[in-house]
């Protein structure tokens, strides 16, 4: 009964490859929208998060204002469910009647939501990475006359990067899954919507299994890579580098 409802091979095949007689979008095609969204969003997230992290870590009193604003932003973006942001953007922005903001495509709104939410998470990962580099390294860099920028560029960031790769992959995995939430607001047929439509036509839930498998096909390998990097990092730490 369970297998018939959720893992019916006949319906799974129709769901994945589409069915011309019912005019149903193949789910693999719908999935391309999710993939495209996350592939474009992720580099933007990595880029936008960097200045946020560096500014929040900066000590200079001149930057107290920006630091405060960014802290508020990070708290907000991490504390509010993504679905809330998605619904507000898709249903709010178009009626705001602001020249540039109100006339964007669903894809651009989707990017905005994902970057808004994930840049906050990733900036925290960056910050933790930079802070985990011991202060003695900063002293050593200053001792050979490096400027503060050179210190970041040649000493702090390269060491932070090694620590940060695995947690970044984990965030990328979440982002990839959360593209489904964009579909809820966007009203385009991405993977989750396609699965719902399928279910509505055939009264069979196997399309959800297909959606799940498609998400897993990306998440699982990435998670394995992250685990492996984390284990490698732990081995290196346990092997002990004294400096």
């Amino acid at each position: 009964m369970f297998a018939h409802t959720f893992l019916n091979p006949h319906y799974m095949k129709i769901a994945l490859l589409g069915d011309p007689s019912h005019n149903i979008t193949p789910m693999w095609q719908a999935f391309l929208k999710n993939v495209l969204l996350c592939v474009v969003a992720e580099p933007l997230v990595l880029l936008v998060a960097l200045p946020i992290a560096l500014l929040r870590n900066a000590k200079s009193p001149i930057l107290a204002g920006p630091r405060f604003v960014l802290t508020a932003y990070v708290d907000f973006a991490r504390g509010v469910p993504l679905i809330l942001i998605v619904l507000s953007v898709y249903f709010g922005f178009p009626i705001l009647d602001i020249p540039f903001v109100s006339s964007r495509t669903w894809f651009q709104y989707g990017l905005f939501c994902l970057v808004f939410c994930y840049a906050a998470y990733v900036s925290e990962v960056y910050r933790a990475g930079v802070q985990s580099v011991p202060f003695s390294q900063t002293l050593a860099g200053r001792a050979i006359g490096l400027s503060e920028f050179q210190l970041l560029r040649h000493v702090t960031i390269p060491q932070a990067l090694r620590i940060v790769v695995a947690p970044l992959i984990n965030d990328f995995v979440s982002l990839q899954k959360d593209t489904a939430i964009i579909g809820i607001g966007a009203g385009v047929i991405e993977l989750l919507k396609a699965a719902q439509i399928n279910q509505g036509v055939f009264f069979n839930d196997s399309s959800y299994a297909v959606a799940g498998l498609l998400f897993l096909s990306i998440c699982v390998p990435l998670t394995r890579v992250a685990d492996r990097l984390q284990a490698k990092d732990m081995r290196a730490r346990l092997a002990g580098s004294q400096s």
């Binding site: 200053r142 050979i144 490096l146 580098s241 004294q242």
Partner: protein, 251 residues
Amino acid sequence: MTVPVLQLRDLTKSFGDKVVLDGVSLTVQPHEVVCLIGASGSGKSTLLRCCNLLEPASGGTISLFGVDLAGDEVRGELVRREVGIVFQSFNLFPHRSVLDNITMGPRRALGASKQAAEAKALQLLERFALAEKAHDYPDRLSGGQQQRVAIIRALAMDPRLLLLDEITSALDPALVAEVLDLVRELAATGMPMLLATHEIEFARDVATTIVFLEAGRIVECGPPSEVLTHPKDERTATFLRRYLDGDVRSG
């Protein structure tokens, strides 16, 4: 009289309410090796760090070759390109090879070319018998080798003054000698140095001046033959008795 390499006048330093340096005045002349001795917490590290502006002083003046470092226009990184410092815990860059550790300063801070910086680094490694380690990463080296690389990293900047902060304290006793020999060799070439050490016999050997520090003040200051052999102040004598009794390694 020649211009002193370094001159501190009435230097003070506080962390919050805690006064760590309380009016320190001392001079390092060309070719001089000045050794700071004193109990843990007496302010030796803080004093050294103030000298190249790793820590901002709270009061007094620091002058380098007659130039006052207090001015707003004096930038810390420019001072540190002239005044090298080596730390107790080596602090090599773990993500860079020995060669890259040594060339980073000359290349990034001084703008030397890669070839020039590497040629010079290799020459220094050769001179101190570390040439075969050039392409190893720091964690592959013994503590003594790491510390010698750290000294070479400072030397590669062609410093006009070298600050050494208890550079043998983190080492196994067996590895202390190789590092101290290197410092002796530098002293023989006339490199001006200001160093903190717990190695009293080494200080006797290498120092032109011994400075005994207690609670951020200079108690006694003079040539080793006076301060170490015939201390005038009872506090110095007590400190030395304690150290020389427990000092099994320097023998």
